[in-house]
Subunit: 341 residues, 2 copies
């Protein structure tokens, strides 16, 4: 059980919010977010969220050879190069908000020789097709968890008031939906979504793949490590390790779409208390993401129909979280305003 954000500081932040120069509760959800950040930091008013670091975890997925995505498998490597070149959506948003962004690939099927070697420093390998066999060996799954922990430790050592975790991998909404289904006992039909935009035929096929995977794994899915090895991937297991280390290190995380939320769901089962250190950046169009957020008790900051991944929903939500913190830090107290000149 990971120690939660400070309930005492949360209450202190609530009391301060109540005496700011505004009607009681008039900042709505910004007040919840501000109090959560204060509780995570253990201090009220909280420090501004100046040092934000985002990591995109990339990987290929066995199921992507099998028509579950609107895009070919090779796009994963193309996008890794785009992140390195600084021209993808996540790069634009990270620059806008002064966020340090790193991409790391855990299992992209491409030699990526033209890309700096550190991108592949934690390379393990692509996952196997989850409808047919376990995605990872137990050994690879353990290694991927450790890789994610090491990645988080690097970010935290660099100084992080907040972390963001993003994903890139053609086919990755299939294992993410399967993990969410297995975690919460939901059926394939409930968790499947259109991902990058599959048509009705591919959606039907994707549903069958998820159903076959859930059926294949059966009761083994009760154990979160078994579930992760059976239905996940190296990049997803790394995300789980990343989140666990962030929570253990008392660093809050802003989640993004279906993949990071699936990682949070598994991480919470691996070690209770991870999700208390997470906020949800956005509501994705993926049904599984919305179901998991509800189950985890997370209400997203934004609801803009985003479904790009890469951490873009969290990056777009970041200034709202910063506004919440600034209001708590900088607004006058009602009592400090002079009623007469």
């Amino acid at each position: 059980m990971i120690t939660p954000p400070s309930p005492g500081v949360y209450a202190e932040a609530r009391r301060r919010l109540d005496i700011l120069a505004k009607p009681l509760g008039a900042l709505g959800r910004l007040e919840d977010l501000a109090a959560w950040v204060a509780a995570c930091q253990g201090t009220c008013p909280p420090r501004p969220l100046d040092r934000v670091r985002a990591v995109i975890l990339a990987g290929d997925h066995g199921v992507s050879a099998d028509g579950v995505s609107a895009y070919p498998r090779e796009v994963t490597a193309v996008m890794v190069r785009a992140f390195v070149a600084g021209v993808a959506g996540a790069n634009c948003l990270a620059r806008q908000h002064g966020v340090a962004l790193r991409v790391l690939e855990l299992g992209v099927d491409d030699d990526l020789e033209d890309v700096p070697a550190e991108v592949s420093a934690y390379h393990i390998g692509s996952s196997r097709p989850i409808d047919q066999t376990d995605a990872l060996t137990a050994e690879d799954c353990r290694e991927a968890l450790r890789a994610g922990e090491a990645i988080a430790e690097v970010e935290i050592a660099a100084g992080a008031d907040l972390l963001i975790i993003g994903d890139m991998g053609i086919g990755n909404t299939t294992p993410a939906a399967a993990l969410i289904g297995a975690t919460f006992g939901l059926r394939a039909e409930e968790v499947v979504g259109r991902g990058s935009g599959v048509d009705d035929d591919r959606l039907k096929h994707k549903t069958e793949v998820i159903a076959a995977a859930l059926h294949r794994v059966g009761e083994r899915a009760v154990d979160p490590f078994e579930r992760l090895a059976a239905l996940g991937s190296a990049d997803i297991a790394a995300g789980v390790g990343f989140l666990r280390t962030a929570a253990r290190s008392r660093v809050p995380v802003l989640l993004d779409g279906i993949v990071p939320v699936a990682e949070a769901a598994v991480a919470e089962d691996l070690e209770s208390g991870v999700v208390a250190w997470c906020a949800a950046g956005n509501r994705s169009t993926e049904p599984a993401q919305q179901l998991a957020l509800d189950k985890l008790g997370l209400e997203p900051v934004l609801d803009l129909g985003l479904r790009l991944g890469e951490g873009t929903g969290a990056l777009t939500a970041l200034p709202v979280l910063r506004s919440a913190v600034l209001a708590l830090r900088e607004m006058a107290l009602l009592a400090d305003l002079s009623p007469v000149s």
Copy 2:
């Protein structure tokens, strides 16, 4: 009829969004917002929204002597001083986002001798209680509209890629709700809200005040100028003039809560085409604001339960609009990404 944002540039922006390095439509509402900004500017890709200017229009309301608010009338002047001192919520958010913020009072019942004279440069006077008599004489209403136009002209001359309009005035959700009710043929019970947080007794009384005002004005409300003079106030009429001038000048506006949305509804009736230049920053907790947004065809960027006014909802939403523009400007085209090294 005001010329709308360019349909040709809107279509061009849509075509460009479709070929960016992302799945089709994956940026959701950001894509709508980016295309709208491009259309307003008449150029694609659009310029970044660097120069944003916000104006808070303040005034006192006759109904505030009569128990429709949780706060005493004197708080309007207190908050004007807070804006000048730079310590209110709107100031914090404006600083966060590099927004130039001015407060102007059109009818605050306080000499405000300790405040720079330009704050009162357009002072007309507080409104009369709308349940008993018209809020403004026709002459004062015309003067307030002209004041709003002049205020907008100053902001536009200073250079504005986007304008934000905020409000401050104890009691102002009562005339705003009445204006929205009269504009769209809604009953007092439908448009009334808790404003700054009134209890059930005051809510009942506020409903009666709005119902009496709507009944008193009757068919005169069909004419938007009569409606504004009868149910508005000097600050609200100034907001209407401000919005009309912004639209005529082809400068987009990000709306805030119930008061600016009521102003947009009246401005649209005064001169068709104003609302095409407006986006909605946030969904307020006021029922009238939500009803008016629906009627005007505006979907808010944020839905965070904000109800502070001051332009704070629009200021909080601004970085999302900026993200939309940046994605359209800076993201690589899918065709520009090299599939192999």
